[in-house]
């Protein structure tokens, strides 16, 4: 009963943190569109918090590069478990059109473990919401404070 209540509260109250790794702002605008009255994601209890210590969901857009991967890793580490990472847009998935640039590490999953990949250039607001909902299902599989701390990426030096 208590376990069911906790899972229900986690699914009904995902607070999101949005980090732009260096996106062209196309995906960022689509994410912010989800907060407007048209999509109103607060219906599902989602709040954009801007503080990793309060967040449950990390939405990342843009390519990871040698500069920002430390910041990305730091934000991820500051989030208390359980947490979900959603990579949004072609750049966050694989590096997109920037993948061969000299400063680009690649997709976000080269730096932190990613749970959900949302494709698109830019990703539609509907696709973003769909990705978040898919991520929420993982809360019921993720129990307690494990998983992410163990699942550090081999490519990452931090």
């Amino acid at each position: 009963m208590i376990k069911w209540l906790i899972e229900k509260s986690r699914i009904h109250s995902p607070w999101l943190l949005h980090y732009d790794c260096g996106s062209c702002n196309g995906c960022d605008i689509e994410i912010l569109a989800c907060l407007t009255p048209v999509y109103d994601i607060e219906r599902f209890g989602i709040i954009n918090v801007g503080n990793p210590m309060h967040a449950d969901l990390l939405l990342v857009t843009g390519t990871a590069n040698h500069r920002n991967r430390k910041v990305l890793r730091n934000l991820f580490d500051q989030m208390p478990a359980p947490k979900i990472v959603v990579a949004i847009g072609a750049c966050a998935l694989s590096g997109g059109i920037f993948r061969q640039a000299y400063n680009v590490v690649g997709g976000v999953d080269k730096v932190i473990p990613v749970d959900v990949y949302v494709p698109g250039c830019p990703a539609k607001p509907e696709a973003v919401i769909d990705g978040v909902v898919l991520g929420l299902q993982k809360f019921s599989q993720q129990r307690g404070a494990e998983n992410h701390h163990a699942a550090r990426c081999d490519h990452c030096q931090f």
Partner: protein
């Protein structure tokens, strides 16, 4: 004695339950005012339960200690209100809780937390004298600081203390963290200080500060109800209309800086209080 044994757990339970429901209703009404549908009524309870079960991370021991002290002080204030105790005592205990929240934020080195804490201190500086003046006015009219005495007064206090009720409105806006006075922290998505005062509270400690806030909301709405204590309908009407007005003000105004807040609240608040107190003394 039996009354006390019943009233203490009632106060402890009603505080978070009623406070959470008021908070849920607040979020729905705010969403409707912004042409949105808004979250379900139970959303604040989901939030607190989720935060409670998150991984515990704390900046230092003092922060955790201060979060517990804040909730303890807020809940004791509500319980004393239910026991119809001394109004001044209740306000002082509530003030101690508010200061603990600030000390907790100051114990971290984060600049957001530090600036938020300093702003919260300025907010406390703005509203505490006003609350004391309102209590003084209530005493001059009813001759009692005890809530039991105030509730049994034969006529509604609002008729004799209309300006002091407006002053209480200023204090309420600050205390409920509503615009234009939500400088230190706010319920809304983004502000220039991330989450200000509450930036470094996380997980169960953030849940504790939220529960403490619910207790404070119940206490302040109880304070409002003193102004029309002759009938249940009057009490309900004054509490509901005041809270709705607060939500409306929150949605139509932008945030002011602390100079505006201190100048505006003190000049208007002290003048209105003085006028009402002179009126009381003359009549």
């Amino acid at each position: 004695m039996i009354d006390t044994a019943v009233l203490i757990p009632t106060g402890l339970a009603v505080g978070p339950l009623l406070g959470g429901l008021v908070s849920g209703l607040d979020r729905i009404l705010t969403a409707r005012l912004q042409s949105r549908i808004g979250p379900p009524l139970w959303q604040p309870f989901y939030d607190v339960l989720k935060l409670w079960c998150k991984e515990k991370t704390v900046v230092n021991v003092w922060q955790a200690f201060c979060a517990y002290c804040y909730v303890a002080a807020a809940s004791i204030a509500v319980v004393l209100f239910f026991l119809q105790s001394d109004l001044l005592l209740i306000l002082f205990i509530q003030a101690v809780g508010a200061v603990f929240l600030v000390v907790g934020a100051l114990s971290s080195t984060s600049p957001f937390s530090q600036v938020g804490a300093h702003r919260e201190l300025l907010q406390i500086l703005s509203y505490e004298p006003l609350l004391i003046l309102v209590t003084m006015g209530v005493y001059l009219e009813t001759g009692s600081f005890r809530i039991a005495g105030i509730y049994s007064w034969h006529e509604p206090l609002l008729l004799k203390l209309p300006f002091l009720f407006m002053v209480l409105g200023y204090a309420l806006t600050i205390k409920l963290r509503k615009s234009p006075f939500d400088l230190s922290t706010s319920h809304h998505a983004h502000q220039e200080l991330v989450k200000g005062l509450l930036t470094d509270y996380s997980g169960s400690f953030l849940a504790l500060t939220e529960i403490g806030h619910w207790y404070e909301v119940v206490l302040l709405l109880g304070f409002c109800s003193l102004f029309w204590a002759t009938s249940w309908i009057g009490m309900a009407a004054i509490v509901v209309s005041t809270y709705f007005l607060e939500i409306l003000i929150d949605n139509v105004s932008a945030r002011l800086n602390w100079r505006w807040m201190l100048g505006y609240v003190w000049s208007m608040g002290l003048t209105l209080s003085l006028v009402n107190l002179i009126w009381l003394t003359i009549s």
